[in-house]
Amino acid sequence: MSASPQRRMVTVDGNEATASVAYRASEVIAIYPITPSSPMGEFADEWAAEGMPNIWGTVPQVVEMQSEGGAAGAVHGALQAGALSTTFTASQGLLLMIPNMYKIAGELTAYAMHVAARTLATHALSIFGDQSDVMACRQTGFALLVSGSVQEAHDFAAIAHAATLRARVPFLHFFDGYRTSHEVNKIDLLADEDLRALLPEDLIEAHRRRALTPDRPVLRGTAQNPDTFFQAREAINPFYLAVPEIVQRTMDRFAEVTGRSYHLFDYVGHPEAERVIVLMGSGAETVHETVEWLRGHDEKVGLLKVRLYRPFAAADFIAALPRTVQAIAVLDRTKEPGALGEPLYLDVVTTLREAGEDGTAPFAADPKVIGGRYGLSSKEFTPAMVIATFAELAKTRPKRHFTIGITDDVTGLSLPYDADIDIEPAEVTRAVFFGLGADGTVGANKNSIKIIGEETENHAQGYFVYDSKKSGAMTISHLRFGPRPIRSTYLIRRANFVACHQFPFMERYDVLGYAAPGAVFLLNAPSGPEQVWDHLPRDVQEQIIERGLKFYAIDALDVAKRTGMGGRINSIMQTCFFAISGVLPRDEAIAKIKEAIQKTYGRKGEEVVRRNWQAVDETLAHLHEVKVPAGTTAARARPALVPQTAPDFVKRVSAVMMAGQGDLLPVSAFPPDGTWPVGTSQWEKRNIANEIPEWDPDICIQCNKCVFVCPHAVIRAKIFQPDGLLDAAPPTFKTMPYRSQELKGYLYALQVSPEDCTGCSLCVMVCPAKDKANPKHKSINMAPQPPLREQERENWEFFLRLPEFDRTRLKQDVKDSQFLVPLFEFSGACAGCGETPYVKLMTQLYGDRALIANATGCSSIYGGNLPTTPYTTNRDGRGPAWSNSLFEDNAEFGLGMRLAVDTLAEQARDLLTRLAPDLDPDLVTGLLTADQSNEAGIAAQRERVAGLRRRLERLVGPETRRLDLLVDYLVRKSVWIVGGDGWAYDIGYGGLDHVLALGRDVNVLVLDTEVYSNTGGQQSKATPRGAAAKFASAGKPTAKKDLAMLAMTYGNIYVARVAFGAKDAQTVRAFLEADSYPGPSLILAYSPCIAHGYDLAYGAEQQKLAVDSGYWPLLRFDPRRGAEGKNPLQLDSGAPKIDLAKFAYNETRFRMVENVDRLRAHDLMEAARQDVRARYRAYEELAKMPVNGKAAAGE
């Protein structure tokens, strides 16, 4: 068959390329979000929601499950019942599917699934790509088919779906996470006819005939015994033996249909190569490119790309290698500690050995084989590394086992390589763009790729590097354009176009380190073309002069403001790129940009199109070439990232990572077990706020509400006795007399950390103190950061040095809680995050004696995503001990901590009792019977422990030493189990339920954003009826699960629903009661999130509306009240008093349902109103229920 006329060239990423095939070739799709595979599921869901049919004309059923384990189970059932099914996953998600994978394979089921291969969490989690997850599935019986580029991901998806039908062995098709899943490239899109040609009807019929049906009943899933299991298991062998040939035949058929030819092993390189690299995945593209370059330099080198990894076709492998091969380097993108070598290496060694023994090896001499690891967690894999590997192979005694791409100065395994080698052809345009997430740079670049890829003959590639932070996040876009397919699966190092869309980056990062000599440099700068030069740091000026850069500048923000674009400078900078780069004729480029804008927004908003078009039109008049002088004019160099006062580790390791230079750190720089120092976020002064709050003490009422709501702990209050302390105060440091009857003569200070603030303005929004004559002026007001930066930095440092007020003397209320030091600060959470105020509060109240088990999600990312750590310590060096195990196991993980703490405390008490004769009896009694229910009690116990420790120093003996190690456990520990609704309501619900039911003293904090926030807003069972979320794009049709009600049914669990923005006092009470309750506690904390779609400055306002509308009723259920003969349930908010729509339609998630279907939105809103009323009634009834036969005694 000739190429289908309907086929077309498109620019898509690997996820879309894969999903496009999988969707069209499936009938049932069960999904669960996990990075970096989530977009595949999202595409499937969107296409199904739009009614897009598969190749047989039906719309696949797409269902989101509660976990990957659930998705695998659903798929297994669908397959057994005769449907064609697929799923998409990665990493830990794939691990959760393994039990079902054994079953699916054992039952010889035709099935193809797709994996964006990602690192497995070990010493740390990583969302990036390597093949460790897939390697953990080798034993399941799945065929493993691997693709290395976006086109291959598309093609191999089709081959997998086709081959499995014939083979009856299930297929796992995988490609490298991020490098392929997120790379945008130009591909030839398979048409429906192509897919139909590959998926013959008769094989689908055969699959159907194997289905379980009561019309032809059979039974699967028996239990077998020693007499039969073994033989029955061996019965599958012929199917596996047939797989390679079936795959090759499918590939041949694919070549007939499309003209693209693949083999089980594809050899590239010199026909008489002496040195060959064997590998699979995206790295093969880089080796391919390098081998061709080396051949141009007369090197006898080659590459063997592995396509079908399991079953491993040994004979085909041998046949694919040139007979001349003398040395082979096998590269694995995984690590198996303790193994003789990584899996592919062992396979190759075994294959060669067996061929040698069988006499089927055609080689002149036995090839030498060495094995290396590369590219873990998306570590760069470049031509320089390939060249170094070939160089190693040329040695007489190469390292048998090595690593490439890092410096291993501990076990010395790494190969050195020359990082400056650049083999990229001149015909390729390479452009690097530095932007902010919020300025739309990546989106515009994706559009540019589409324009160039789809509107010209050029090939185009885009890859995007994102930040580890969610606020003020930097993005770096790497774009390549050229006349031939682009195989460079590594970042651009020498660009001929460098754009910096945010001027402050010039101070912070080595932006021009990417610029090739003679490159074009485009800068968005707030100063005009005459002044911009002088505003650059000296080292940047030097780079521009030394490299002979052509320098252009524009004040894009000015253009954006004047055209109503807010901070969105994407269309403006995109226009500049096209205008300067000359990739397309200027007019044509502008027309295409406008067309792309129209395509993106046309159906959604004429206004958005109009503003963007206007911005495009006004751009060129503001774009100027800057005259580069012969010499530098600035004296100022780029400032150091961290001050000299920072701890050694921060300077040596963290600062290098902050600068984006972490690749340079050697193995010895790192703790081997994933243990990191706390409190390092304070050194990462990110200066991301354009405006920061400024305090006016004249009208302050000292309520501390600003401190309470600050998501990043950057605004703090202190009270202190002046006692000459202010003598050393910087001149602009502000204080006011503290308003208090008891603490006369004390001063009150409110201070902002200017360089850590994200500028969310929540504090200003909640400030109740207004100037009576000019009410728009509050006690806190946003003011431009740059003029305040220096003075407030000094003030902040002075403020930190002021003494802390004695925590035992503080009241347990909102105001006093905010004099407690937060032990969670400057996290990478979004500006205005609705979760972090709760986390911060918890650390203020209990941080010095808290262990935190944190479920994977937003809170684990802003809690522990390097380079820095936001959990910190107080002056005594105490602070939260934090860890993240997994997503699904967090309740259990936290319970384990509780059990450990309890047993160690019990041992301490036991030892104390045994050693009592040698100790002060009062001290011992005091330690054993201490009332630790409040701060004073805790402090007194700490005193006793210190006394005990002093006493123990003077004693000897093994029990003394054991007790000395355990004495701190005599101070009550608070165990917190923290996670989001995806964990608590869905994937971790089983464990959470069990842990709560066990009755142990753990505190569960559910940060309820009502969607999977971290993976991008997929619906969870916490998503309310009527809200749009991914996997519920038409609005969730079912009501939110009432986790509070479920937990209350146990009777012995403390339960609270809180919303700090609505009633902060109730939030504080709930936290206090949860900790003091000696059993399990569950706090459901309403958390505004960017996935709700409104300006989070209004987060507290929205919480009020949520409570007033009955959407989020506040309650506390305290089993201790039951014991007192009272009803345990207290409702802390009244009956709904405003219409739900008043709350809901402020948020995009609800509004967009209205935008899609007004009638449906109306019906859903009405049903949601009923939910609200019914839930309130139910709570009200419960709160009124008689206790022990008596009417409830209210409060």
């Binding site: 970096p36 997430g437 930040d467 979320a1029 995009t1148 967009m1152 899609v1156």
Partner: protein
Amino acid sequence: MGDPMDLSTTYLGFRLPHPLMPGASPMVDSLDTVQRLEEAGAAAIVMHSLFEEQILQEQWATIYHMDVHAESFGEALSYFPRPGEFALGPEQYLAQIARIKKAVHIPVIASLNGTTAGGWVEYARRMEEAGADALELNVYYLATDPEEPAATVEQRTLDILRTVKQTVSIPVAVKLSPFFSSLAHFATELDVAGADALILFNRFYQPDIDIEQLEVTPRLELSNSSELLLRLRWLAILSEKVRCSLAVTGGVHTARDAIRAIMAGAHAVQMVSALLRGGPAYLRTVLDEMSTWMEEHEYTSLRQMQGSMSLARCPDPAAFERANYIRVLQGWRA
């Protein structure tokens, strides 16, 4: 009872069995309510206004909030689904016109508040296409700019009316606010410019002041009968001065209110607050009470009373003019 009372009237060129209809309100969002209004006898359905400004703002805000966090963080390149059918423009409104047209047999009058010249014309055209039988131009504009003379405001409204009239072939009404310095003159200009009806008057959202929180709180209270008085006066003044129909909106709560308005010169009587309070069926109650009152007072048709108490025909025209205030005061002194 004898023959049914002849309550018929002509409004916007439509021959209607009686003058009562719901005014612009969110009631039309529900097809069910619309049908109940028709069952209650409503002579026409008036849609709530399509606000161009709101559409533009919502478009921008919605796209902004969806886009501003997108492509920022590696794990979540977006935070919202991308539904293919996603209408941030007037599509929902237009679709609702079509749905209501399908559901009822009475005239459907769409209502528009534009902000740009292009918007007025474009949306008016699309409303006609969607099946609207007539159009209310809701001139909902607060002239707060000290630089802007009254004449400019009036001229702009006249221009809008003329262009819309040129664009559509359905009747066009202009819904006015009372805040024009020479309303009678402006009304005749609108009449000459082609308005098919004038509707008196728009009710604005009123900003209130929260003296505890020092905040401005916008509110829209339901109307009461006392608000009718302002309308009565201007109906009476304009009646027979303009060729086009007159309608009243704001303050009609009872049959007596309706009768007053008709006597002052209204051809159509729009009710909102009363129907929001009493439900769609209340329209039937008012209608029945009107008939009863007219029978009791031996009217034979509505036409008899239409404009009977207008400035032109009432026994004491001065009462509608400034003297009104003076005499009340004198009467109080006496």
